[in-house]
Symmetry: D2
Subunit: 136 residues, 4 copies
């Protein structure tokens, strides 16, 4: 798939007294970007849960912090699909300042498709699977 780019503005809530973005908050930005990527291809997660009985859960994350973001920075989260399974997605998510190439932090996330009641792994809806498969 073509990378999906999502903008994130840094507010005071995102920073810590070290003067930089608090390290856990990049995971929030990554999750926002995944939500907006799904929305951009036609899938709302509340509808996925209520109508199709599927919820996505994060199985694992790796993240490398290369350089800090700061208050008021305008960032972009660039999301790329690394691998698609029937019940899983593996994504690369890189964050940089808008207009700059330096990757401030780079994360990967393995996402599992779960049955919304039992929380057991279940294939994602076929329509969603096909839409993602056919992303160019």
């Amino acid at each position: 798939m073509a990378p999906f780019t999502f903008p994130v503005r840094i507010y005071y809530e995102d920073t810590d007294s070290g003067g930089v973005v608090y390290y856990a908050n990049y995971l929030k930005f990554m999750e926002r970007a995944r939500t907006e990527w799904l929305r951009s291809i036609g899938f709302e997660q509340d509808a996925l849960i209520e109508e199709l009985g599927v919820i996505f859960a994060v199985r694992s994350v790796t993240i490398d912090y290369n350089a800090p973001a700061r208050f008021n920075d305008q960032l972009e989260v660039v999301t790329t699909l690394l691998k698609q399974g029937r019940a899983s997605l593996h994504l690369l998510q890189e964050i940089h300042r808008k207009g700059e190439e330096t990757v401030l932090c780079a994360g990967t996330a393995k996402i599992a498709s779960l049955h919304a009641e039992s929380f057991r792994p279940t294939p994602m809806p076929e329509t969603l699977f096909q839409v993602i498969k056919n992303l160019s």
Copy 2:
């Protein structure tokens, strides 16, 4: 009731790039203290929801910020009951550094007792009402 005192340590997550505790986070500390106050008088909120069908919701908050807390501070949240209704509680919550008298911030919270399904106001369980009423 005698004031209920709950300790809060300030970690990086609580601070912002202004070098102080982010203003919204004091509401987290106030909520932790309310949870621990209820626990201290014998009521767990998950049991209240599941067994008694009652959930507490915040109706309104006022908060005055007098002086900032900082990374690594050891704070105390002192909670006092201002008024008890059948389906409501009005609490004063003051935050100071341990061993110091200066009130860093002072908040009030109006809490409503709601039916856990309908979210309509409902009297709190009689046992809880009586326990709170008899606090000296």
Copy 3:
């Protein structure tokens, strides 16, 4: 001044296990909206601190929670100036779902202009004072 409207999308990070937006997080949305309001009239807060030596701090907040927002909601924060002083601003900030009139929560915030080093009250920069005064 004309009300300033700022959009906020609700992500998982904003919600709690009650199924609604966690009560402290509305203060984050209010702060984002204030930051964007200042930006919209030409003032970046990092420049205010570094170039003009002024930082804004919240002195007090009141907030009434009328109805809950939920995951995936598209909200708007509508900010109105209630009163302008030489070293203070008093703002009303109302939050509703986009396209709906019901106010989910309504807050007020008193903001003080402080010297960025001493943290003592100081008049806001004259240019900023005039720009706000002349907002129609």
Copy 4:
């Protein structure tokens, strides 16, 4: 070193509308545990910065989410030193419910010792290095 165990209670602030602890928040618990581990061996991070000119920064994190924690859970973060360098620490941090063996999530964190002004890697203070080295 002997594992260092730090308790964490789950409050509403930690959960999301999926009914479980929001995935980024485990990084907060890990950071709290690292802070308390340093405190337990005699080092306060604000003193490290101000007196010794050293700040710790997270270089990378891996985290596996095996099972969810929920509201009101009493967790423990168990921290073990994997490797010690002159300017780095590599830690394993496992989280489980108190009294249960199941690891809910397991993370590793690479921490760098930085000069507090330049943010360049710098050896940690010799006293701290020796204290950690001599932990049994």
